[in-house]
């Protein structure tokens, strides 16, 4: 049956879908997979920026669907990985320019040549989300450990189940260990308790993500970054490897350890 279509979705905006898609794409490519990432957020494209490919766009998703461009012409090869491609969203049109059927047709063509087709879904539950969901073999739901994001994720999961694409797996993004310890942020267990979905990744809050996104070099290429490592682990779990979750406890410096010892904690 060829490649696997993985849609990255969230419901709420700003939780890190596009960052997750870019990093996952790069991680999968670095694991030797042939990958294409599709930006389905027509009218508000960003995936190209985060992947540092903005200035290479000639054709886009709508051009392919409306026949102005061949599939291969619109695909942008990544600067570093020869087997990683981007299909950018159109900036000037809206989500109605593409139908769920168009997306299924496109995905089926891509399945023949690629191992993974990642689709970055727009926020919301309307047409854009339907477009991204329809061709999916698996859905990864990105959420933040906060009540409103979890609520929206829950809504999206309900819609994914209703479309028979469920249950999906969860990426918990931007977890702050210190806040969880103080009881000020939901823990990954709390999120699991509400959503009841298996977790495919827990990404710690990491300033390097922002600077990486702004420079167009996704954080997963930075071996110093915990978030980058966590995204790498997600990719390995997606291809079926059994990877243990990393220890996100930050208090491992010599002083903290000493303090811990003295306090008897």
């Amino acid at each position: 049956m060829g490649g696997k279509v993985v849609t990255i979705s969230s419901g709420k905006g700003g939780v890190g879908k596009t960052t997750a898609t870019a990093n996952l794409g790069i991680s999968l490519a670095s694991l030797g997979k042939k990958v294409v990432v599709i930006d389905a957020d027509i009218g508000l494209r960003n995936l190209d920026v985060i992947m540092g490919l903005e200035n290479r766009i000639v054709y886009d998703l709508v051009d392919i669907v409306e026949g102005r461009s061949k599939l291969r012409q619109a695909m942008i090869k990544h600067k570093k990985f020869d087997d990683l491609f981007l299909i950018p969203a159109a900036q000037t049109r809206d989500k109605m320019a593409v139908s769920p059927e168009d997306m299924v047709k496109l995905a089926n063509e891509l399945r023949e040549d690629f191992d993974y087709i990642l689709i970055d879904s727009p926020a919301g539950i309307e047409r854009g989300f339907r477009n991204a969901l329809e061709p999916a073999d698996e859905v990864l739901i990105v959420t933040n450990p906060e009540v409103s994001a979890v609520r929206d994720a829950d809504r999206i999961i309900g819609l994914i189940e209703a479309a028979d694409k469920g249950p999906g797996r969860l990426i918990i993004n931007r977890l702050k260990t210190e806040l969880v310890k103080k009881g000020e942020m939901l823990s990954s267990d709390d999120v699991f308790d509400i959503l009841g979905l298996s977790i495919v990744g827990i990404i710690p809050e990491d300033e390097l993500v922002l600077s990486a996104s702004n420079s167009g070099i996704p954080v997963t290429l930075n071996m110093q970054s915990k978030a980058g490592m966590a995204f790498n682990n997600v990719a390995r779990r997606v291809i079926g490897e059994d990877v243990p979750f990393m220890n996100l406890d930050e208090s491992r410096g010599i002083f903290q350890r000493l303090a811990k010892l003295l306090n008897g904690r």
């Binding site: 609520r151 829950d154 809504r155 999961i157 309900g158 509400i194 009841g196």
Partner: protein, 229 residues
């Protein structure tokens, strides 16, 4: 409890609303609006028969009553009245009118119209064997049984009882037709809001220490929640 100026009960094809024939019109309509708003989703779309008795209702009052109902998605489909003034008002507003009072109607209590009647024959309900996630609304005139969780943002509205074999964290309304003997039970009882008939409670803030199966019911005009062992 405040004196009831209105009675709402289910009839075959909609709702019969009886309004006090003596009280100040403003208080009556205010209370009606409040009652409907409390259970807006339950009443939505219903055909309404309004019983006005001997009260003479001028055209502008009747028209504002109709507007009040329409704003809430309800259709005023029949007016029952013995007053000439009211009948004329209804005619000029082209609202269908019936010139008699159903004598039995005001005496019937709401409870008798609830769908739950015979224990021997069993009572009707629906079963959902899945978790109800945010945005999902279940609405049934009988009982509702959920084998799974009711998540925050999900709603269950039942004419009868609600049984949740799982965590109840959303909104539930049992006995939504006014049946105060309805119950709600759950393995974990932490609803965002729980209603039985016209009574409302919220879960206390903060985390529960011990989680156990519990039952919510109305006793002495308030909702109480008790453990079940």
């Amino acid at each position: 409890m405040q004196e009831e100026l209105i009675a709402i009960k289910g009839v075959n094809d909609g709702l019969l609303i009886s309004l006090s024939t003596t009280e100040n019109w403003q208080s009556v309509t205010d209370q009606l609006a409040a009652r409907i708003d409390e259970q807006a989703e339950f009443y939505a779309g219903a055909n309404i028969t309004v019983e006005l008795g001997e009260r003479p209702v001028p055209k502008y009052e009747l028209s504002s009553l109709r507007a009040l109902l329409e704003r809430r998605g309800l259709k005023l489909s029949l007016v029952r009245s013995e007053s000439d003034t009211t009948q004329k008002s209804a005619e000029s507003l082209e609202v269908p009118i019936e010139n008699h009072v159903d004598v039995a109607a005001p005496q019937q209590t709401v409870r008798e119209t609830a769908p739950v009647t015979s224990e021997e024959r069993g009572t009707h309900g629906v079963l959902f064997r899945r978790t109800l996630r945010s945005g999902r609304t279940i609405h049934n005139d009988g009982h509702v049984i959920v084998f799974g969780d009711v998540n925050p943002g999900a709603k269950v509205i039942a004419g009868g009882d609600i049984v949740v074999w799982g965590k109840l964290r959303g909104y539930v309304h049992a006995g939504a037709n006014g049946n105060e003997s309805a119950i709600v039970c759950a393995l974990e009882m932490s609803p965002s809001q729980l209603r039985i008939a016209d009574f409302v409670v919220r879960s206390p803030a903060g985390k529960r220490k011990k989680i156990m199966p519990e039952v919510a019911l109305v006793r002495d005009n308030q909702i109480i929640v008790e453990a079940r062992d």
